[in-house]
């Protein structure tokens, strides 16, 4: 797939991957063998009929291809861009053993983009019937949007409540626009709005009102998709220094608040010059590549394990390297050191070596005694993970939660310990991917539909 030149794109916020042309898409689609047992579909959390849509692309029947995808996935233009296909559908593609898997993700993106650009966007907004049962969805991220869209399609009246002033959750505040352009996100949300979903921003459920209040105020069911938005810090000395950020804050300032356009935009951000990003997941890559685009001279990923254990997608890692991000592997920060005014100046690190595998199956890193050294940095971005926000669990009586803070759910349905309350996505699983959250939103929509039918039958 064509991409922007790494040297050029490392200094702009335009999308990196440029997408297939029609001819390229058809060429790629013809590689698909249309296996009868559809191994690829097994790897898709939302069960798109992958061989069917790819065959349609090969026959240049793009409109029908888009319809097949849209049936299973209302957010295909997003998934085609941010899904880890290499661990999902493409992992099971029989062509993987021949000359590489069929580029299913890129084809998904192509048909979703083609449909948006070439088909009239349906303007009529279906009204749920006056006696339709009501569902509240908490959080307008991937899980909530999917659940809301599916339930609206089934005829329910759906209200989505979002804490921030814009919709999209992590798709808005977390994923940078060079990976997911804002226009694509806006169009996808608009398509869900057109399905009849009502959106309320500026609403912090747990503070503005509670889950209990929703249930007492005419909502027949609630879906909680509040994600894993609370940052994890390292708990090492000096973390309070100016210049040390949680990745969440750094990315939110840029993505949600447009701080790159300060002072036209009101939200400021210190431009990083020498920047360390701690962690090696997708969020770390996003933060590192964002720092480059803000003009940083040097951006270094600091990670305590080796390349093999990095949780980031291969493609993200590859893009970061191409753009000039450096790597300090087997390295762990032990202290941030500041100047007399509280500004970060240096980061003290220690070298690590890998020992026996730990409970995650990855080899456990151990510090190498006497190997401390210092890096000169003015910005350090901590991207070592996120946990669910505690607000909902603190304010919802009777909601069972795991020790680590996630909501306890039935894996198949998302049902929580409270009848009529369902949950899914990162708030139930811990930080995972956009598509797993969407899969959970979809499964809960099915379960909520069954729950509400039963409720109506008995009442």
């Amino acid at each position: 797939m064509p991409e922007q030149d790494p040297q050029v794109r490392a200094r702009n916020f335009d999308e990196v991957a440029l997408g297939y042309s029609e001819d390229l898409a058809v060429e790629e689609a013809t590689r698909c063998l249309a296996c009868k047992n559809k191994p690829c579909v097994r790897g898709c959390p939302v069960n798109i009929d992958i061989p069917a849509f790819i065959q349609l692309v090969a026959e240049r029947r793009f409109k029908e291809a888009a319809e097949v995808v849209a049936q299973a996935n209302a957010l295909a233009a997003i998934c085609g861009r941010v899904c880890p296909q290499e661990e999902q559908c493409e992992k099971y593609c029989v062509m993987a053993r021949v000359n590489g898997p069929v580029a299913i993700g890129r084809l998904e993106r192509f048909v979703a983009d083609w449909a948006r650009e070439n088909l009239p966007q349906n303007g009529d907004r279906p009204q749920p019937s006056p006696d339709a049962q009501k569902v509240a969805v908490v959080g307008a991220g991937p899980a909530g949007l999917t659940c809301a869209g599916d339930l609206a399609a089934k005829g329910y009246r759906v209200c989505v409540f979002e804490a921030l002033h814009e919709l999209g959750g992590v798709l808005r505040y977390g994923i940078p626009e060079f990976r997911l352009p804002r226009s694509i996100l806006d169009a996808q949300i608009e398509s869900i709005r057109r399905m009849g979903v009502e959106f309320y921003t500026n609403t912090v459920v747990g503070r503005t009102f509670t889950i209990q209040q929703l249930l007492e105020s005419g909502f027949d069911a609630v879906f909680i998709g509040t994600g894993a938005g609370a940052p994890v810090f390292l708990n090492i000395p000096g973390e309070e220094l100016n210049g040390v950020y949680a990745a969440n804050e750094f990315l939110t300032r840029v993505n949600l608040m447009n701080a790159k356009d300060f002072p036209v935009e009101g939200t400021p951000l210190k431009r990083p010059r020498r920047c360390a990003v701690i962690g090696a997941g997708n969020t770390a890559m996003d933060a590192a590549r964002t720092a480059l685009r803000l003009g940083a001279e040097e951006v270094t990923i600091v990670y305590r394990r080796s390349r093999e254990e990095m949780p980031a997608r291969a493609e993200e890692l590859h893009h970061a390297e191409e753009e000039g991000v450096k790597f300090q592997l087997l390295t762990n920060p032990v202290e941030f050191i500041g100047d007399e005014n509280g500004w970060l100046q240096r980061m003290r690190c220690i070298r690590m070596e890998l020992g026996e595998p730990d409970e995650s199956g990855r080899r456990r890193p151990h510090p190498v005694p006497g190997s401390e050294f210092e890096m000169e940095v003015d910005t350090a971005i901590i991207a070592v993970g996120q946990t669910p926000n505690p607000l909902i669990r603190q304010t919802t009586e009777g909601l069972a939660v795991e020790k680590w803070g996630g909501i306890v759910v039935d894996e198949k349905t998302g049902a929580t310990s409270i009848p009529g309350v369902f949950a899914g996505g990162d708030v139930a699983t811990g930080a995972a991917t956009v598509i797993t959250a969407m899969g959970a939103g979809r499964r809960s929509a099915i379960a909520i539909d069954e729950y509400l039918k039963a409720k109506r039958g008995t009442s």
């Binding site: 209200c159 804490a163 921030l164 002033h165 505040y173 309320y200 921003t201 500026n202 609403t203 912090v204 503070r207 503005t208 009102f209 209040q213 929703l214 007492e216 105020s217 005419g218 938005g229 609370a230 940052p231 810090f233 708990n235 973390e239 309070e240 100016n242 950020y245 949680a246 969440n248 804050e249 939110t252 300032r253 608040m257 447009n258 300060f262 002072p263 036209v264 935009e265 009101g266 939200t267 400021p268 210190k270 005014n341 509280g342 500004w343 926000n389 505690p390 607000l391 603190q394 304010t395 919802t396 009586e397 009777g398 909601l399 069972a400 939660v401 795991e402 020790k403 306890v408 310990s417």
Partner: protein, 308 residues
């Protein structure tokens, strides 16, 4: 697996006007509840503005000590402001703010009848209103507006409230009448002696502690004032609560930008606070963190004054 207990039953004082608990949301969950119209606007001093804004959902659940985040215009920053008053029958909240930076000036430039772009709340943990005995409520500058609802609630809970409010000079002193009504006794201090006693609020607090037993102290105002009050009350072993306002983005515990060191631990002001034990706050770190964007604040002001 375990179940977190919900927040302990919230206590409130003389805070809610109109008749009480609207637990049910019916009638409030519609787009008009999200049209944040400025119902009243009043200038309390040259730079301090009081605004009553329609926000029925926020008013219905707000408690003393809580704040909201407000974004006056499409391109504005999100800034935290304490809720000074919540009127449930009117579905409105009152904020009092000083025009110091670009965003507070953008807010202050809006007129009655206009709307603010975004407003979300109530945020933060409500004040822990208890019966302490005698409570000194020390408010400085625009912090008096934050102090007022807490003082009212403390008095309602049966405390003897001694209000101590201060400003540089008479023209900058706000809410004297309201604080007087909320207190059993009110002491006014100005730096230049143009109103009340001449000197600092800490002078008045030292006097008070010299002549009677003070069981608890609330201190809300500029950082140096709160720090000075805490030094004094620590010496006199008077437990002290302060309300902090560091840099904040989302206000829901998401960004970690508002972290402060309290008792050696990192706390998020937006969810763990905004009120903390003043004797445990690391004031030097807080001072540094509050100054992160000082240069940018100047730039933002220049950019905006250039445009108008």
């Amino acid at each position: 697996m375990h179940t977190d207990a919900p927040h302990s039953a919230r206590k409130s004082g003389d805070w809610i006007s109109g008749n009480g608990h609207s637990c049910r949301l019916e009638g409030l969950l519609n787009p008009s509840s999200y049209r944040f119209e400025i119902l009243e606007k009043e200038r309390l001093s040259e730079t301090v503005v009081r605004m009553v804004i329609r926000a029925p959902l926020v008013a219905a659940s707000a408690r003393p000590g809580q704040f909201l985040l407000i974004r006056p215009l499409e391109h504005s920053e999100r800034i935290p402001l304490t809720i000074s008053h919540a009127d449930r029958s009117e579905g409105a909240i009152t904020i009092i703010f000083q025009e110091v930076g670009a965003t507070t000036r953008e807010l202050g430039a809006l007129k009655q009848g206009q709307t603010v772009k975004d407003l979300v709340g109530p945020l933060g943990t409500p004040s822990d209103i208890r019966r302490f005995g005698t409570v000194a409520c020390v408010g400085g500058g625009v912090g008096i507006a934050v102090m007022l609802p807490v003082a009212r609630a403390l008095r309602q809970a049966g405390n003897r409230v001694v209000g101590i409010i201060g400003a540089r000079t008479k023209d900058l002193l706000i809410l004297e009448r309201e604080m007087s009504e909320a207190s059993d006794e009110l002491i006014v201090m100005t730096d230049d002696g143009s109103r009340g006693g001449k000197g600092l609020v800490t002078d008045a607090l030292a006097d008070l502690a010299g002549r009677e037993r003070v069981d608890h102290c609330y201190a809300i105002g500029p950082l140096p004032m709160m720090h000075a009050v805490c030094r004094l009350t620590k010496e006199k072993a008077i437990p002290t609560t302060v309300s902090l306002d560091p840099v904040m983005v989302d206000g829901t515990g998401m960004c970690g930008g508002c972290r402060v060191t309290v008792g050696g631990e990192a706390k998020f002001t937006c969810v763990d606070g905004p009120e903390f034990d003043g004797h445990l706050v690391d004031w030097d770190t807080l001072r540094a963190r509050k100054s992160i964007y000082r240069d940018e604040e100047r730039l933002a002001l220049e950019a905006r004054s250039g445009k108008t």
